[in-house]
Amino acid sequence: MIAFVIRRLAQGVIVMLVVGLIAFSLFNFVGDPVALMLPPEATQADRQAMRENLGLDKPFYVQFATFVGNAVQGNFGISLRLGRPVSALLVERLPATLELAFVAATLALVVGIPAGVYTGLKRNAWFSRVLLTVSLIGVSLPTFLIGIFLILIFAVWLGWLPSFGRGDTVMVGGWSTGFLTGSGLKALILPSITLGLFQLTLIMRLVRSEMLEVLRTDYIKFARARGLTNRAVNFGHALRNTLVPVITITGLQLGAIIAFAIITETVFQWPGMGLLFIQAVQFADIPVMAAYLCLIGFIFVVINLVVDVLYYFVDPRLRIDRAAAGGH
């Protein structure tokens, strides 16, 4: 177990270095921040001075080594756009993104699992067909379109919900939360639906197909033969056995929710890390982009590690013979 975790950690470090390198080398092609930071009238000498100020005149590997050394200490430098330390900016934006991701993931689970069970059990009910049709929209429509549609309906036409922003927030310790104010909660509704819809439909379809598969197995037939109630069979035996892949997918999708919040955050002007990143891209704000990509890489590495460790606890077979569990 410990050896396994250490091996995973070592792999994680390599992944992080590669993410760092890719992020860092990509930025050399994003553009010249100096062209944006200085007024067009600035002279070549001004530009050169600015470049030296920013360390952009040094060779690539020196810039990268400096970058990694600082990054390990959590120092990503200063944002070229906002003139503030990147780490402070990310810490400020983290609550907004995590709260949104949390609500979206909860929504996806709380609606997705029951809907999956229902459509699995009542395959031919008309409501199942409605759910499946609606879920098609969730998988096929791009996020920004869903977001814009929701804004059009609920903000512009009906005027019920705000079209942008996070509403009023309250500081709890160093954490700004929107959970404690009416406008904060209202502001969460549209973005979290937009962000969670894809995962919701994914989980629903996953649970449904797993249910259909499990319901065909011998032990379910045997449970029925024992005369157990439908409820005990469906939830006690069938659902429990479908949950292993659901946990895996949910874990990985949580990373995806945080990473893909970029689009939702942009559409709703949600002041999270994704919005910060998008604005950084437009401004060629290299430190922010680098820090964001590394952070997202780090979140994925951590989630993967946690999911791997969870396998150990959820699936007893893994503890005895890892090779036998190749199915997942």
């Binding site: 010249d32 003139g83 330390p85 559409v267 002007q269 604005q279």
Partner: protein, 525 residues
């Protein structure tokens, strides 16, 4: 209760509490990007200067007609060709209560002159400032500076005591990887006081009740909230969550105009879009022509101009939102001459003939560099231009790219055929002529003459303009330079951009050609 209703109720409560401002209102204002910093000398960027103008004030400012007016200085006179004395307004206090004095002016001028200041374009030719007495300051220049006053409209005054106390005597420097106090706090003399600031979320300004000037509007509180997505920004305006949008997406203007709840105010921007050519390389870099440079031949440049129908660009690409032109700057700029601004009529047959005469009867191929997120419809303009040039057998390969990459490339003169837009913050022709038409040289000469157009007669006129202070002579010199450049077809001017502002129907504003909203003139009914 609905959030904006709460807000309105709160505003009303405040208004009732202060019976003097019964009809005071909150202006909720949005545009794409956020304010970068509160430091008035750190970022020379349009929106940033617009917001700075509400908090910090310059010695002289621009009125509704963009003419220079007194602000913190009440009068000024030249005491020698290189020195101008300013009498300061008396009894002015900064937001923190400290009085505004000559020391603050000297300090602010020196701060704007600091190497970390982003305002060097406005400090060109200014060598320093000296306190004459408590209410008089003398600003010295290298030589006679005819555009000193326009420059000073962008140099805002800070409190020396405040800056010293918070250790922000210099504008923010990116080398010291720290943020400075002045980037998130402000203390000016202007009509509004910074109340709170949350980057990318909301910046709140409230009325300075001790402001010396006259509030013509009725706004007592400003919320600035950036909304990046065009669709969302518009939705917020339509749903009444914001009152004013500085940059509505051009494609939505016709629809907005039909909406009774929305008002669109348009005016031409002080920014001119044009094409430029590489006129200095012996072999054109990105082209099928080898061994020579067709753009060195005036006939080829003229043929290009004759092939491009700027009126068609206006109707087909800009949806009517442009003012076609034949000169390099907008009518608001001093030195503009209507007689020269006659749009060239397209003539394909003559264009083909000129190309044939120049030795390209079959046309040739060239790459057009074009930004795709800098000017209104920039890439579409280039596409349409490529189609027009194809009709005279010139094959244009379009190389469109985002601004960050685009400017890095063309500023190295690494282009054969390019698009550029030029705004004139000083509202004086020299700013355009020196950067765009003057032969590339020192001290800002030709610093955006990216195709290296060069004509000694134009240079002579521009150089004379640098020190000429007589308005009539200046106008004549400008006209001379423009006329020669026009005959040379040094560039192909397309149009001045038109900037629409969108707002709720109950908001009245004064539109400015420099795309700046001035809230002291805003009325909300």
């Amino acid at each position: 209760m609905h959030a904006p209703t709460v807000l309105r109720a709160a505003t009303l409560a405040v208004a009732l509490a202060f019976a003097t401002a019964v009809d005071a209102k909150t202006l909720r204002w949005s545009s794409q990007g956020d304010i970068l910093t509160m430091d008035p000398h750190a970022q020379n960027e349009g929106l940033n200067n617009t917001v700075s103008d509400h908090i910090y004030e310059p010695l002289v400012t621009r009125g509704k007609d963009l003419k220079i007016e007194p602000c913190l200085a009440v009068s000024w006179k030249a005491v020698s060709p290189t020195a101008m004395q300013f009498k300061l307004r008396q009894g002015i206090k900064f937001h923190d209560g400290t009085p505004f004095t000559a020391d603050d002016v000297v300090f602010s001028i020196e701060r704007a002159l600091a190497p970390t200041s982003n305002f060097s374009p406005y400090m060109q030719g200014i060598t320093g400032a000296r306190k004459v007495d408590d209410s008089t300051v003398e600003i010295t220049t290298k030589g006679p500076n005819p555009v000193l006053l326009p420059q000073l409209t962008e140099v805002r005054m800070m409190s020396k005591a405040w800056a010293t106390k918070h250790n922000v005597q210099r504008p923010q420097d990116y080398k010291n990887k720290e943020e400075t106090y002045a980037s998130r706090n402000a203390n000016g003399t202007g009509p509004f006081v910074l109340k709170s600031r949350e980057a990318d979320v909301k910046t709140v300004l409230v009325l300075n009740s001790n402001w010396w000037g006259k509030m013509e509007g009725n706004v007592n509180e400003i919320f600035y909230q950036p909304i990046k997505q065009d669709g969302t920004r518009l939705a917020a305006l339509l749903s009444g969550e914001v009152d004013f949008v500085l940059d509505p997406p051009p494609q939505d203007i016709p629809r907005l105009k039909k909406d009774a709840k929305i008002k669109v105010v348009e005016g031409n921007e002080n920014r001119t879009i044009f094409f430029g050519f590489d006129q200095w390389r012996d072999e054109l870099q990105y082209s099928s022509v080898k061994g020579k440079n067709p753009f060195k031949d005036q006939r080829v440049r003229q043929a290009f101009q004759l092939a491009i129908d700027v009126n068609a660009l206006k109707t087909q690409v800009m949806r009517g939102l442009s003012t076609p032109t034949a000169v390099m700057f907008a009518p608001q700029v001093d030195g503009y001459d209507k007689a020269l601004d006659t749009v060239v009529k397209p003539d394909r047959e003559r264009a083909k003939k000129l190309l044939a005469e120049a030795g390209y009867p079959q046309g040739f191929e060239v790459t057009l560099d074009c930004p795709n997120n800098r000017y209104i419809n920039d890439e579409k303009l280039c596409q349409a231009t490529a189609a027009m040039l194809a009709q005279v057998n010139v094959k244009v390969r379009l190389n469109a790219m985002p601004r960050a990459t685009y400017f890095a490339k063309i500023q190295k003169f690494d282009t054969s055929f390019y698009m550029l837009g030029w705004g004139v913050p000083t509202f004086d022709s020299l700013y355009s002529l020196q950067s765009l038409l003057r032969t590339v040289g020192q001290g800002g000469d030709g610093n955006f003459n990216l195709g290296k157009y060069s004509n000694p007669k134009v240079d002579a006129a521009v150089d004379a303009l640098k020190t000429e202070t007589d308005p009539a002579r200046r106008k004549a010199l400008t006209k001379e330079a423009l006329a020669i450049h026009k005959a040379d077809v040094g560039h192909i001017p397309l149009h001045h951009q038109v900037i629409p502002w969108a707002m709720r129907a109950n908001v009245s504003v004064v539109h400015r050609a420099d795309n700046r909203l001035t809230v002291k003139w805003v009325k909300i009914n």
